[in-house]
Subunit: 490 residues, 4 copies
Amino acid sequence: MSLMSPEAFEESLKSLRPRVFMNGKRVEDVLAHPVTRTVVEANKASYAWAQDPRYRGIMTVESPLIGETVNRYTHVSGSIEDLVAKAKAGTFTAERLGTCIYRCVGYDAFHALASTCWEMDRDLGTEYYPRFLEFLKRVQREDLAVAGALTEPRGDRKKRALDWPDPYLSLKVVERRSDGIVVRGAKINISGAYASHELVVLPQSAKTSGEEDYALAFAVPTDAPGITYICQYSPYSAEREMADDIEELGNPLFGQRETAMVVFDDVFVPWERVFHCGEVRYSGRLVTRFAKTHRMTCGGTCKVGFMNLIIGAARLIQEYKGLEKAAHINDQLTEMVTLRETGRACGLAAAQMGREEPLGSGVFLPDELMGNVSKLNICNAFWRVMALAGDIGGGLIVTIPSLKELKNPETRAYVEEFLSFGSDEPAENILKVHKLLQHWTAGQHGVATWHGAGPVMAQKIMIQRVVDFQHEKALVKELLRLKERSEVGS
Amino acid sequence: MSLMSPEAFEESLKSLRPRVFMNGKRVEDVLAHPVTRTVVEANKASYAWAQDPRYRGIMTVESPLIGETVNRYTHVSGSIEDLVAKAKAGTFTAERLGTCIYRCVGYDAFHALASTCWEMDRDLGTEYYPRFLEFLKRVQREDLAVAGALTEPRGDRKKRALDWPDPYLSLKVVERRSDGIVVRGAKINISGAYASHELVVLPQSAKTSGEEDYALAFAVPTDAPGITYICQYSPYSAEREMADDIEELGNPLFGQRETAMVVFDDVFVPWERVFHCGEVRYSGRLVTRFAKTHRMTCGGTCKVGFMNLIIGAARLIQEYKGLEKAAHINDQLTEMVTLRETGRACGLAAAQMGREEPLGSGVFLPDELMGNVSKLNICNAFWRVMALAGDIGGGLIVTIPSLKELKNPETRAYVEEFLSFGSDEPAENILKVHKLLQHWTAGQHGVATWHGAGPVMAQKIMIQRVVDFQHEKALVKELLRLKERSEVGS
Amino acid sequence: MSLMSPEAFEESLKSLRPRVFMNGKRVEDVLAHPVTRTVVEANKASYAWAQDPRYRGIMTVESPLIGETVNRYTHVSGSIEDLVAKAKAGTFTAERLGTCIYRCVGYDAFHALASTCWEMDRDLGTEYYPRFLEFLKRVQREDLAVAGALTEPRGDRKKRALDWPDPYLSLKVVERRSDGIVVRGAKINISGAYASHELVVLPQSAKTSGEEDYALAFAVPTDAPGITYICQYSPYSAEREMADDIEELGNPLFGQRETAMVVFDDVFVPWERVFHCGEVRYSGRLVTRFAKTHRMTCGGTCKVGFMNLIIGAARLIQEYKGLEKAAHINDQLTEMVTLRETGRACGLAAAQMGREEPLGSGVFLPDELMGNVSKLNICNAFWRVMALAGDIGGGLIVTIPSLKELKNPETRAYVEEFLSFGSDEPAENILKVHKLLQHWTAGQHGVATWHGAGPVMAQKIMIQRVVDFQHEKALVKELLRLKERSEVGS
Amino acid sequence: MSLMSPEAFEESLKSLRPRVFMNGKRVEDVLAHPVTRTVVEANKASYAWAQDPRYRGIMTVESPLIGETVNRYTHVSGSIEDLVAKAKAGTFTAERLGTCIYRCVGYDAFHALASTCWEMDRDLGTEYYPRFLEFLKRVQREDLAVAGALTEPRGDRKKRALDWPDPYLSLKVVERRSDGIVVRGAKINISGAYASHELVVLPQSAKTSGEEDYALAFAVPTDAPGITYICQYSPYSAEREMADDIEELGNPLFGQRETAMVVFDDVFVPWERVFHCGEVRYSGRLVTRFAKTHRMTCGGTCKVGFMNLIIGAARLIQEYKGLEKAAHINDQLTEMVTLRETGRACGLAAAQMGREEPLGSGVFLPDELMGNVSKLNICNAFWRVMALAGDIGGGLIVTIPSLKELKNPETRAYVEEFLSFGSDEPAENILKVHKLLQHWTAGQHGVATWHGAGPVMAQKIMIQRVVDFQHEKALVKELLRLKERSEVGS
């Protein structure tokens, strides 16, 4: 069985030396820094669940590739059942972590690569697919945590990459050598890579002729020479750094989603780790196959889990205040449940309507239309759920004092008296639940929901590409018995 | 094979003599009257499809009950696959008819009856289930069209039925005889019963002790003595009566949805047709089992088909005007497609998450939460799709002149010149597509979508009953490690 | 005092002979035909109110032009107070008629013409303004009902008018004579012109060089030779034609909005009635000035009145059913009231923020941004109010039988028993209120609200033209003390 | 002229010694602590503007009370013009500060007190009004900053205050002495009081017989003995404490909104500062008069200003990326502008429709319906504007690194290259604009918009109280000529 223990995972990270900066300073130890530590904890949980008899069914799968039990996040779906199981795992991890399982982007990238490498080899006679399989086998055998990267800084959006004065605003090959390639540029908004073993890189978008140097996919160790991580620094980062005890925080162990800009300053990638290089016609397929897979995940699975936490917290506050019978709050909870179930339905439908793509590849991908619909819906739904939770939670979810006041003899009694709503619930619990809702309703999740897996317009464009209206028009013509020009006369 | 031909169906209706009134006059012949004819046509189509090799897979199924191929609309689902097939048939019939397949309510009522009769017999030792099966076998063997009825006039909603001065505002047993029961009252908003063979009646709502006379389910021939149909009469009815040619109308053959108030003026029902009589604890189950089944249908399947017609017509008008590249219209079509696919996803998920209920009964029903979510979503979605179609279609979809102008020598040339947008499309087609959108955006469908399968609040109440928030609260407690009172100290 | 009595108005129409077709037949007498009669009644009401002591303050104003009391619908606003009074009159007429006051478009066109004729004369030395004033004085002195017309059939929207094979898809000058011009083409969606005395014509859109023959504004008598009206024919038209008694109908006296396509088949217009001819730079101003004035009206005033009727009817049904305490219905009514008041606020703000335009002209127009915002808001708000009314009203608002059943001895008792909800209210009243809601929720008003005063995109385009974001960006730069490039160093 | 200079304001705060706690520690100096400093700065700006020739017209007014020019935020509106000027000042201050002007709640409380003290004296012969006027004159003469407080912790919401085990969960008189009263309890969510001179306290809600000890309004110096401030502590507080330079922050000088729980631990209030004590019938009026005034402000004025900042920042990012022509972004900006203008319209309409209340008091208050509608609308609108800004701004608005990276030699070049989008704009500016949008879209403002001036349900309740539907029902009855029961016959 190729499953690493959580302790072994933590140990394995110690041998990596990623170059990480946050808030203007070097992060010497990703495991020790309070902010980067949250990423370690989240990934670590995925190792623990895989060995937990209660969750093993969700988190592991038999790999036909190596004939062993592997973590689901290293497995390329080979059936509708796999896709459905993938969807369920997405909800499970999200509702336990309250943040990203950082192996997710890599997992979805594996799907795009397996499908497209197979296709390139078939069409072009390249040898990407066996290379990729070798890489994936190692990932499975060693149970590696693999992050993924697509989004790029980009220059003036009115112009093509070839017309930008700075060619490196999109990741670019700067040298082709006999043993590999050298790349320069950056990826932005990359989730949790510095606490993973490997980083899989895909192109940001479709490419056309002339853009061969931008048509790139590969894998690198996260501490490869030339790679620098410049971390996000948000109010939530500062709060975590300031905390005496993580119990003071909204999501104590796992935090908000942590990302970084990943700079590639002449990074060398040996050929056996290069999965796409110059075949511009296939760059777009890598992207759309990743997109529909990741949009199923972001839209129809992980947000369902997040909503469970938000709904649970809103319900608890309703109960603390004795408002269980308030019709307008129950109506709001009903709306939240409806939005959650709608998300779940779209995720499930995207999986159920999935198919092998390309035929013969053995790779199953979700339905393109439904995958995009999942994400497009959840964008609005998640903001609405946040907003409703903000109304139910009350002003205190942003005006709550620090939990430290419970240790301050001058204020403790006041806080206990006035912030318990006369209920029997310990003030500490009440403050913590408010803090959790603060985390959700006054944090990064609204914006992140728009942009994780691509902004709204990206889904709309895909939907417009997929739908050609032939079926719909034919129905109208038949119902109305519309005539051809020739039947009508002059 | 127990399948009637469409011609035989029409013939079979001739032997029925339902007492029908419309617009203050008796409808002597349901087959001949232009309005009631639309119901005949819609039901007839269901017979034709069942014999059409292209659609047989959708419209028929092997009945384990009689061991023959039967029309799907007479079959109680016995598996998840049956539920999924049911969902797909709902979309298929709707997008072909542009109105109700009037066998739908009966079909859904069969599910509620099979499940609950089985359960009553198990719990109470009654003998409803075999009775119901005998009835259903006849329906299958003779391939009968069966309508369904639930909604009642009701009196003052602040009071219980027992406190209304007029006890018949809900359908009531007025006499229990050795050979059967006599019922009095009315059902309202009943779709297409007068062009069906049989009418299955369920209670409108849950009952409690004292309301035994209202706890009623049974089947009657549609022309049973004492039954009177008082039909709706809308502007669309008038327009159809006035038309020289059905081609002038928005949905030429199948029309808008036709309903009637069904009055039961001391109607006798023999015991072998009575499936529920006085067992008040089970009335609510009949209703909620019907509701979730019908809400899956109304929410997640038939509206998907209707939306296809609306989208197709909007797209055609966009093309007639040369507006294919207009970004704002494509954005609106994308929104319509997204709403449609969301509906489809919820319908599919309700089927996929369905289960045998009660265990051992062999009856499969959709998931209760998802069935209700399907309908709640579509209520708003359908109005939005109508509205968007109204914006794309343009003012002409309500200001269009009669198709008769194309036969009027004084106006024909004007209409052809000015209402073809300079396109090559025959003016007749353009007028017809506008007329179809008028039918959808300026007709009864918005209101009908609210109320078919119950108003919005009915779904909300069911959702509130199903969700108890235990899972959600437990997640929060675990993530925040909330303490018990005893752990905190005083 | 220049006010015609309602009887005199009706009499005055008898001398006109407009060429009108409906449903493939000539309408010989606009006053007698049941459908066109509704337009006569609606306009007639505006004459009655002007003489009614209760409403005189709303419907009349002192004309500085002729020094007499005139109907407000013939008066060009000369102050903020006039604009506010105009807004209030819009709501008053709408809530009394439940349909258009058909003098409204002409009224708004007067504003655009007064402003732009004055400006053309100032800039170009033309003599349109005195001509227009002479025309307007006659309108005021004779208290004429004046309709307005802008929208045109148009050809392929991807192309300019000059590139259409049929040049008459937009109204065009075909001959310039010493005594006037001859025009050919058509206007579509024109409200109520055939029961007015005069028709004022504006261009549909801005024009550019080369399009001089399309840059046209003028007035014609409604029965000028060459003009043909081809009326809309909707289900509501048919229902009215079929009715034995107008009491059976949703809006008995005034009906739904009646429009026609107005064909100009070589219509001669003498120069003294031509107000714009070839000055392409000013066509757009006529349109945008009309648009903001009409959008204030359609958005912020008349829909407020319509909503009052819808809210009143929904409330009555709530009361008939004994549902006054139902929280979810009260919540829906609150939403409807909120949408109504928001509409009212935008209309009032558009008036209050209005200004003289151009300076010196004496013509006051509403604020351009707020005028467009009024309409854009109401588009969505009105659909929402319709939808909510549909939910409150219940399925019966579309499935209600004809009022004729109350005169049918075979069904009368049933209808009275079962459609009164056990209330003390006469069944006739209950049916009528349902019929009124049918008129609103299942009729032409949704689509009409999109398109009256222009579709959604038209408002968006205007808003995008008006807002340049300079103020907003300056605020950000100041708050953040953003630096100039030069201050930052390299 | 009674206007303090900003420097004098700051100096005046030094003589106050409020007892303030934040994050478990005493705040020794409100002027020095980085978080409380933001409140000082925001209030200070209101003194600066009043002396700035550019803004004097907005920020000052002639006081009829003392016959001198005073800061508008100390003046009770005595006319419609005053209300309109009040609305405009609300927008002005908000768009300059990007947070609360903390004198706002006190300003609105003055309106409620002036109106209700006058009324109590008239009705009950009390002497509150002269007392209040004396207090207000001092406020005007000394140009004091006055905060306001209403919201209370409250116990079990199912029960009345009298039934709570802890009677102090609502602020309560514990002793009535000859020289004044002693109060105990707390107010929560109180904005910026510790950097004001005075705190005006109103009841949280209407009171009934038996609740005399809770029917309370008064003024106290902010450092009165027994008062303790327990400040909110959010991620934004931590970030500000951690910052080396306020330029790193989203709203450098003025911050997010700062609130505190204000504990009254046996605070003595002399009678000349008590404005309401035991007259339970009038408590509700104080609340509703405050509410409509404050809801006009929160709904229709200050959020308009906030939206200007959000729109400005979103537009700048659009420009930095070269996306000025992207139709979908322009559509989103149009939606934001529409929401902003709708807010503005409601605020203006609430002012324009305002009236003297009670008649004879000389106090002008906004229209109750429109005041509540303003706030109800903006609740949803503000979340939507935040969400849209989040979509336009892009993922970087939450994943942006610290501005400190621009001073870090190891990362500076990377940040400058990759986070400038190839534009000519200094990276520092780009980071700052992202940081401002982070402040708005990922901060406390969503929740605060729900709850400032009361949650959604509070507005709905007021609307339901104000609207009785008599007008709407009468319109329907007239249009349909509904009959009385007696006219119909049996």
